[in-house]
């Protein structure tokens, strides 16, 4: 189906969200809680755009808005910029010390009114990506708990989680680097739990937790060699080279 974004016509498939079409065509819509391959979460509210569906104009969030025939979209209006600024200001008040948020604020030229900065800095902006990532793995070790202004991401009862395999996927998707992941002497600490790290059998560097390798092993039903991503790629590349050499 054809839709119009900022005056230009683009092609989209049924079931796609506006954000997916925009990303595919390199149209910039600011976002914090959207990640390619994940379904939209609609939490951060940064991805607001104006849509026109024939009769009415309305403000929607692009990451959860399913496209439909004859849709007209404007990604930047005065109102939208004002709203985005307000949203970034709110995030800045929540996470005044977070460098990613500070950078965003700088980009939008936002200075927070001194009087309203919150005393405790919270790096987590509750985008929900970590929870979704962990859910996708099938580990479900963390979730959103509480509601209203006390909402947070946490393991059950804040205790070290039995289900966590220390894979670090949550920390990797976090847009504000809010999840603490420390590695020291072959031990990774995340979500208040220590995990033994395993060394790559090729290069000898620590590269994954034992629990996560077991988890993958169980899932695939086979034991793989302990080789880190880097070395895997390298060996793949050399295999390629070899096979090419064999051809010529």
């Amino acid at each position: 189906m054809l839709i119009k974004i900022n005056g230009k016509v683009y092609n989209g498939h049924d079931g796609e969200t506006l954000m997916e079409v925009a990303k595919r065509n390199n149209i910039n819509i600011p976002s914090l809680c959207y990640k390619k391959g994940f379904e939209g979460l609609g939490r951060c509210r940064l991805c607001l755009v104006e849509v026109n569906e024939g009769k009415r104009k309305k403000i929607v969030s692009a990451c959860v808005y399913p496209i439909r025939e004859n849709l007209e979209v404007i990604t930047k209006t005065e109102d939208i910029i004002k709203m985005r600024k307000d949203i970034i200001l709110l995030l800045l008040l929540r996470s005044p010390k977070n460098e990613y948020i500070q950078e965003l604020a700088k980009e939008y030229k936002i200075v927070s009114p001194e009087r309203y900065i919150q005393k405790e800095n919270d790096d987590c902006i509750l985008c929900g990506l970590c929870v979704t990532a962990c859910e996708k793995l099938g580990t479900n070790a963390i979730s959103m708990v509480n509601r209203g202004i006390t909402k947070k991401v946490s393991t059950p009862y804040d205790d070290p989680s039995k289900d966590c395999i220390g894979c670090g996927a949550c920390a990797e998707v976090c847009p504000t680097n809010a999840i603490k992941l420390d590695e020291n002497n072959g031990i990774r600490t995340i979500w208040n739990r220590d995990f033994d790290l395993v060394k790559c059998s090729v290069c000898g560097k620590y590269y994954a937790t034992e629990d996560s390798l077991n988890f993958i092993g169980d899932k695939l039903g086979s034991k793989e060699d302990h080789v880190c991503e880097y070395c895997k790629k390298k060996s793949l590349a050399s295999k390629f080279k070899k096979s090419f050499q064999n051809i010529y």
Binding site: C44, I59, L90, L93, R94, G148
Partner: protein, 606 residues
């Protein structure tokens, strides 16, 4: 000995309000003593009913056909009622209701100002029947509408009728019920679902509770009728966690209806199947929001989701779903039975029918009231509510629950309907009306609601969660004396962003209390910020009390009412308040017969 009639009916109110003031004792005692009383030869029927609406004056006992209504009855009064009223037809003056508007005692409650102006459709049976008796319901035309629908009407005819009636959803935004059913009926995805939203969360509102407790069958009947018209065989009743009696009565009614063939397979021999299940609410205010409610029924966290695809198409478990609130369901059987034209004539052109309001706050009569749409706000407050407690000056009402708005006394004549209220920046919501007098501070009201919503928002989206938190911070600053002029501007501007950028209706309406109080009571905000004064005497940091020398007559009433002995003065001489001792309770302010106690601004800078 009584020979007026050979049949008497005694109705004892056993709604949550009256039960709290021990009405069940009254019921038991009446039952027991009437059975063994040898003087009584008349046939007596005694029933425990649902709420009569005037809970504060309960327990309520009504005697038919004499039409005598007693209020604040206790078990101690039972002997006297049997001896005087039941046996001798005598009226007990002490137990009658005193109507402050008419300035007299009222024998039949229907003559009281509180009831006289009401028109009961949704509440038609409540207080008149025993909610646990399906026979009582049947006697008052119960399940006749269902019969008519199943045997005389096509599904589309049912939808036509509901659409023509102009009924709008009574739970909030006022979406036309018939349109919702029609859209849902068009989707050919099965199974479809029918949901009753019984998650009433507004503080002070209890209309849904009272219908579920007092007339459960009307909800069941309404839902089956919808099921038939959209071709759904399964319904869910989502009932707020705290509503134990409501859940119990609904459960009982569902069981009974199933046994008698009104629910389940092949309903009354029609070939149509429909059944109902009760789901216990998640206990959060946000679960009243429809998409959060469905998430909660599915067993997920009660978080709203974007509603770009409507639930009539993809609702519960992604199937076409019709969701209406309790009061809406209660309107369906009478509409079917009496016809759309009958319903249309009640209320105003675009807002047909009645609406149930829960009237609370600084008004003399508080309780549940059902009035035609378009009734003026002033009628509700002064004719039905009988005006302000202690006849203090009336200031404003707040309508629509925590995210509704405040309407000042200048707009007292606004008709109570969906359109007029939203034009005022407020909303109908589920029908909560809170009356405020001159001792209510509008800034504090706004702060209070932000505090409530900061805990009750689901916390999913930035604007709602962080926006409400920021508004709360600003309002706290203002009420505690640290406000600055720029704050009003920030509140207004941020409010607009929260309204358009939030994901669900909770966030989209949350700024209402702030924006309407700024709109209508800007002076009060300025008074707090510029003059450091709360003229309602509510914000303690911004209040001092002093006695005006010119008018004080030295009666000493203030002194007697002061809990900390802050007032000195001999009789017939001017009294003085010691600011250092005064705890600013305001007792002297409301007690002084000459209005000589005045409110001043802050004593210190904050």
């Amino acid at each position: 000995m009584n020979d007026i009639s050979n049949k008497r009916k005694i109705l004892v109110c056993c709604g949550t309000g009256c039960l709290a003031s021990n009405s069940y004792e009254v019921y038991e005692s009446l039952k027991e003593k009437l059975e063994i009383n040898p003087n009584i030869i008349v046939q007596i029927e005694i029933k425990a009913t649902g709420c009569n609406g005037l809970c504060e004056k309960g327990p309520v006992v009504k005697i038919h056909p004499d039409d005598i209504s007693y209020f604040k009855v206790s078990a101690k009064d039972v002997d006297e009622i049997i001896e005087k009223t039941i046996t001798n037809g005598e009226i007990i003056n002490r137990l009658l209701y005193f109507d402050t508007n008419q300035k007299k005692k009222i024998i039949n409650h229907m003559d009281a100002s509180f009831y006289k102006h009401q028109r009961k459709i949704a509440l038609r049976n409540i207080g008149e029947i025993d909610p646990l008796s399906i026979e009582d319901y049947l006697e008052r035309d119960g399940y006749k509408a269902l019969h008519k629908v199943l045997f005389e009407m096509e599904p589309m005819e049912v939808i036509d009728e509901v659409e023509k009636s102009g009924l709008k959803g009574r739970g909030g935004a006022g979406f036309p019920t018939g349109t919702k059913w029609r859209t849902c009926s068009k989707f050919e995805d099965y199974p479809k679902y029918v949901i009753c939203n019984g998650d009433e969360g507004d503080p002070g509102a209890f209309m849904d509770r009272s219908i579920m407790e007092g007339d459960p069958n009307t909800i069941i009947e309404g839902m089956i009728i919808c099921g038939y018209s959209i071709n759904s065989n399964k319904g869910y009743l989502y009932i707020r966690d705290e509503y134990e009696l409501a859940r119990k009565n609904m459960e009982f009614a569902i069981d009974k209806a199933r046994k008698l063939g009104y629910l389940g397979e092949n309903i009354i021999g029609s070939g149509f199947d429909f059944d109902l299940e009760i789901v216990r609410g998640g206990g959060a205010f946000v679960c009243g929001e429809s998409s959060a409610l469905m998430a909660s029924i599915e067993g997920n966290v009660g978080e709203p989701r974007a509603k770009y695809i409507r639930s009539v198409e993809k609702g519960l478990w992604n199937m076409p779903t019709v969701l209406n609130n309790v009061e809406t369901w209660a309107n369906i059987p009478p509409i079917i039975l009496n016809g759309a034209n009958w319903f249309n004539k009640i209320g105003t052109e675009n807002n047909s029918g009645t609406k149930v309001f829960s009237l609370v706050g600084k008004v003399k009569n508080t309780g549940l009231v059902e009035i035609p749409m378009g009734t003026k706000l002033s009628e509700l407050v002064f004719d039905i509510g009988c005006g302000i407690i202690k006849n203090r000056p009336f200031k404003a009402v707040q309508t629509g629950g925590p995210s509704g708005g405040c309407i000042p006394k200048e707009y007292m004549d606004v008709p109570l309907d969906f359109d007029s209220l939203s034009k005022m920046g407020s909303m109908m919501g589920s029908g909560g009306v809170i009356v405020m007098d001159d001792t209510t501070c509008m800034v504090e009201i706004a702060r209070y609601y932000m505090e409530f919503l900061s805990e009750e928002s689901c916390g999913k989206c930035t604007t709602c969660r962080e926006g409400i938190k920021m508004m709360l911070n600003i309002l706290t600053n203002i009420t505690e004396g640290r406000g600055q002029l720029e704050d009003i501007h920030i509140l207004e501007s941020l409010g607009k962003t929260i309204m358009s950028a939030s994901l669900c209706a909770l966030g989209k309406t949350a700024p209402n209390p702030v924006l309407t109080t700024i709109q209508y009571f800007r002076n009060e905000y300025m008074d707090h910020i510029v003059n450091h004064k709360c003229s309602a005497g509510v914000c303690k940091n911004l209040t001092t009390y002093f006695i005006e020398e010119e008018t004080c007559i030295g009666c000493g009433i203030c002194k007697k009412n002061c809990p900390v002995n802050a007032i000195t003065g001999s009789l017939k001489e001017i009294h003085v308040i010691d600011e250092d001792i005064c705890i600013k309770c305001g007792n002297c302010f409301t007690a002084c017969p000459k209005d000589s106690v005045k409110i001043g601004g802050a004593a210190y800078a904050y």
